[in-house]
């Protein structure tokens, strides 16, 4: 069964229409940049310097006060949306459901952004950037994006958000919205990577995906756990009490992720893989400018 079939495209278009209706005036492409430029909306004045274009001199102020002040306008520009897709082996540890959902989610978010005339770039990462889909605009490019996503394979070593962020900020031409789709199973922790994004003035937003079996494993007895990313083998006897401790630790991880996002105003969506991509997109959009939530 293909990852992106005609039914997917239909739901994608429906999702685009619904998102416009529901979030009218709040779409990403209607954001203003903080840079002044050649826009039509007045921003402020500044002192005239030699070489400046006379056309922007405020002659009324000169007549009134005798000073050469230059009028400045807020520049309107496209929003850059970066989608960081986790392609580490943990995304398809037991099966490929999570990785498929992540790719569908990435395609859907990219389509919504393209529909809003934003520029969209996609970075596949694991222990660093593995591949990237260059910045592009126009929703006619969605087919290319889907083809690119469909050809992606899980690879790389253990997830390293820090290494990813360092490579990403060097490759990204401009700041913008960064949506990270991952399980965030970074042995070094997720905080440092997200801190780097914030410090480089990106607007991070995260989507954490996990399987129901990860939240509540159904293991008992002597087992040999194989880490999908590192290949490490862990032998242990799983008892009911150890399972209970595992569940508590996993929930603690999710709570720390959500708490971090709340602290820094980062949109956070936590979900298991039992939901469809369109439900998840709508849930994520509801979190925009709102508190982090999980579905």
């Amino acid at each position: 069964m293909p990852l992106f079939d005609s039914h997917f495209l239909t739901r994608l278009e429906y999702l685009s229409l619904v998102s416009r209706k529901v979030f009218q005036g709040e779409l990403m492409a209607q954001r203003r940049t903080t840079q002044t430029g050649s826009g039509v909306e007045f921003a402020d004045h500044r002192q005239y310097n030699s070489g400046d274009d006379f056309r922007y001199l405020d002659w009324n102020l000169y007549a009134r006060h005798g000073e050469f002040l230059l009028k400045r306008f807020q520049e309107e520009e496209d929003l850059h949306v970066y989608l960081l897709l986790d392609c580490s082996r943990s995304m398809s540890a037991a099966d490929s459901i999570r990785f498929d959902l992540a790719r569908q989610l990435t395609a859907a978010l990219g389509y919504v952004a393209m529909s809003s005339l934003d520029r969209v770039g996609v970075f596949a990462f694991a222990d660093g950037v593995l591949d990237h889909f260059p910045l592009t605009r126009g929703k006619e490019r969605i087919l290319s994006l889907m083809e690119w996503l469909e050809n992606l394979q899980v690879s790389g070593q253990a997830t390293s958000l820090t290494k990813l962020t360092r490579e990403f900020v060097q490759k990204a031409p401009r700041t913008g919205l960064v949506i990270v789709v991952s399980d965030f199973y970074d042995p070094a922790g997720f905080q440092q990577g997200l801190d780097l994004l914030r410090h480089h003035r990106y607007e991070p937003s995260i989507i954490q995906l996990h399987t129901p079996e990860e939240a509540s494993p159904k293991l008992l007895g002597d087992v040999e756990l194989t880490d999908a990313e590192t290949g490490e083998i862990t032998k242990l006897t799983v008892t009911e009490s150890s399972l209970q401790q595992y569940r508590e630790r996993f929930q603690q991880f999710l709570r720390s992720l959500s708490s971090y996002c709340s602290s820094y105003g980062i949109d956070c969506t936590i979900s298991d893989t039992n939901v469809t991509f369109d439900e998840l997109v709508l849930a994520m959009m509801r979190t925009t400018d709102g508190p982090a939530r999980s579905s």
Binding site: S90, M91, A93, A94, D183, Y185, P187, H210, T211, E214, P217, L219, L220, G221, D222, V223, E224, L225, T226, D227, A228, E229, E232, T234, K235, L236, T237, V238, T239, E240, S241, S242, Q245, Y246, R249, F250, F253
Partner: protein
């Protein structure tokens, strides 16, 4: 160590699948996970126990193999060689006599206590030890031969009956010793309420049940024909008070269910009161005597003075009196004529000549005085002082010294008759021809009173001249004739004395139980509770076995023989009473209940220990290994 079931050791092959499963379990199930970062903390926590975790599987395997070994060992039923050499042979002498039915003051029946004791003995047997059970209620009998099978022993114990027989402990111990057959580890355990006799034997372990208790009992009930009144009975009755205090007793006498007499009595401590009563009826029947403690304080106080109920009732049988037709052929003898006429049961007909035809009544008796025919007629004939020869005897003249030398004291014909040293004047010397029985013999050896048994009827001959000697003046004279008439009418057999439980008694069968030739081949003996046993006897005398149940027994011709004519008259009742002071006297000098002390009988079969240890091991294995998974 040896095994009684060595083939069971092949079950040890089950170790192979256990090891296979163990190897499969050691090869852990591999589970791919996205990350182990949430498990790692757990691993680190348990790191100090890593060695234990590795050893745990091996220990689990060892425990399981040990468990299997013990189970296989248990199925194999191992027996230690030393144990085989020390195995005991136990014979339990179980007293199920009448006194064991007593209910002690604590409310427990002695029999129930004894049954619990014998079950304890069975439980305490070591594996491989033999045990037998000998009952001693009445005649001692082996209820269960030597066996190691505890289930058989328990089933035997369950079927031990309560009897009314006396305890014959000495006989039972002899039987037990024969069963032990000089076995080195032989042991006799006597479970009884009797006191252990002295000297105490080493091979006998005495287990006494019950405590000293009071009792009231009928220790004797017998009836006999009155020697002075042919139509009356004398009933002898002994009532004993086995208490250390005087007791008021009510005695009821019933004949065929009709109350004859009620006598309130006060029996002193330890007193045995004897009564002789003649309050009976000519019609006869079953005479029942019943005593009951009469205590105004209530039944509880009554129970304390009368702990055994079965000896409070006794029976005896009184046969109906029948009239006898006697034809006296004589030229005249005052004594003979009056001794017959004085008997109210007799209808006397005087005749001068011997009648040509006998009366149709088969019970009729012909009495010939002096004059006798050449051939004695068929039927019952009593000949007094014959003068001529007949087909049965020859007369050899007068007897020189007619002094009585011997008489058969055990003969019914001489019952209550004492003729020792009596002078039979002018007695004739009689030479019998054919089969005869001498009842009274002169000092010269010649018979003075003899019996000729014939299939057609006995002939009694008294050679004494009644006109000369002093015999007619003796008390024995009318009794002699009364006995003879009773003998002829067969009532000697009909009058059955009450027998005692546990005592084999010879019994002269009445005519209705014999065939035409007077021979009985098969008899059914039916107990008061309906149990039937068959007696195979020949002749008119049968030996009743020791009866272990008091009450009224029925003796009849076997069902197969009497099937053609189901006549109720072809049966007689036999009264059986406990009548034993030793059984009724529940007072014991040794008052303590000795309990049961069986040193060295605490052992259990080895397989039981193996099973117990296997159970412990499997629990340990579960606690150490299996429980960790689901805990």
């Amino acid at each position: 160590m040896s095994f009684t079931n060595p083939t069971a050791l092949f079950w040890a092959i089950l170790a192979v699948p256990i090891i296979v499963f163990y190897l499969q379990k050691v090869r852990l199930r591999r589970v791919p996970v996205a990350t182990t970062m949430f498990w790692e903390q757990k691993i680190q926590d348990k790191q100090p126990r890593a060695i234990w975790r590795q050893l745990r599987n091996v220990l689990s395997l060892l425990l399981q193999l040990l468990f299997l070994s013990l189970v296989v060992l248990a199925i194999g039923n191992p027996v230690l060689t030393s144990s085989l050499q020390q195995q005991r042979r136990v014979v339990v002498v179980f007293d199920n006599s009448a006194s064991m039915q007593a209910i002690d003051t604590n409310g427990q029946r002695r029999m129930d206590v004894a049954l619990e004791r014998i079950r304890r003995v069975i439980s305490s047997l070591n594996d491989g030890e033999d045990m037998a059970i000998v009952l001693t209620g009445g005649r001692s009998s082996v209820a269960c031969g030597l066996t190691q099978h505890s289930t058989t022993l328990r089933n035997t114990v369950q079927k031990i009956p309560a009897t009314d027989g006396p305890a014959m402990l000495e006989d039972a111990q002899q039987t037990a010793r024969r069963l032990l057959a000089k076995h080195v580890q032989g042991q006799i355990v006597v479970i009884t309420d009797a006191v252990q006799p002295s000297p105490i034997l080493d091979d006998v372990l005495w287990c006494k049940v019950g405590n000293s208790a009071g009792n009231l009992a009928i220790t004797e009930l017998q009836a006999r024909r009155s020697p002075v009144d042919p139509l009356a009975y004398d009933v002898l009755l002994d009532i004993a008070n086995f208490n250390d205090q005087s007791v008021f007793v009510t005695l009821d006498l019933e004949l065929n269910g009709t109350l004859l007499d009620v006598m309130p009595l006060e029996l002193l401590a330890g007193e045995t009161r004897r009564f002789v009563t003649t309050k009976t009826s000519m019609a006869g029947g079953v005479l029942q005597a019943t005593i009951a403690a009469d205590d105004p304080e209530g039944s509880k106080a009554t129970a304390s003075v009368d702990c055994l109920a079965t000896d409070n009732v006794a029976h005896t049988i009184l046969p109906a009196q029948r009239r006898v037709a006697v034809t006296l052929v004589t030229e005249g003898n005052w004594f003979l004529q009056h001794v017959l006429q004085a008997n109210e049961r007799i209808d006397v007909t005087l005749a001068a000549e011997i009648p040509a035809a006998r009366p149709a009544d088969s019970d009729s008796v012909l009495v010939l005085h002096r004059k006798v025919p050449d051939r004695i007629p068929a039927g019952r004939v009593f000949v007094v002082a014959p003068e001529t020869d007949t087909d049965l005897w020859k007369i050899a003249g007068p007897l020189d010294n007619p002094l009585v030398d011997k008489q058969q004291h055990d003969s019914q014909l001489l019952k209550f008759v004492q003729l020792d040293s009596a002078v039979m004047a002018e007695a004739k010397q009689l030479i019998p021809v054919g089969v005869y029985e001498t009842l009274v013999e002169a000092i010269s050896g010649s018979p003075l009173y003899l019996r000729f048994p014939r299939p057609t009827g006995d002939v009694l001959v008294l050679t004494v001249n009644l006109d000369r000697g002093d015999l007619p003046l003796r008390t024995a004279f009318p009794i002699l004739f009364s006995n003879a008439l009773n003998w002829f009418s067969g009532e000697a057999a009909e009058f059955q004395p009450a027998v005692k439980t546990g005592v084999a008694t010879p019994l002269l069968l009445p005519m209705q139980l014999a065939d035409a030739e007077g021979v009985t081949s098969g008899l059914d003996l039916i107990s008061p509770t309906g149990q039937l046993q068959t007696l195979q006897q020949s002749g008119r005398t049968v030996v009743l076995p020791a009866l272990n149940e008091s009450g009224l027994w029925t003796l009849r011709r076997s069902a197969t023989e009497s099937a053609d004519s189901a006549d109720s008259t072809e049966s007689i009742l036999i009264a059986c009473n406990i009548a034993s002071e030793s059984e009724s006297d529940l007072r014991r000098s040794d008052d303590a209940d000795s309990g049961l002390v069986l040193p060295g009988y605490a052992g259990q079969p080895m397989w039981l220990y193996a099973v117990a240890l296997a159970f412990v091991l499997i629990v340990v294995e579960w606690l150490l290994f299996q429980r960790r998974i689901i805990a």
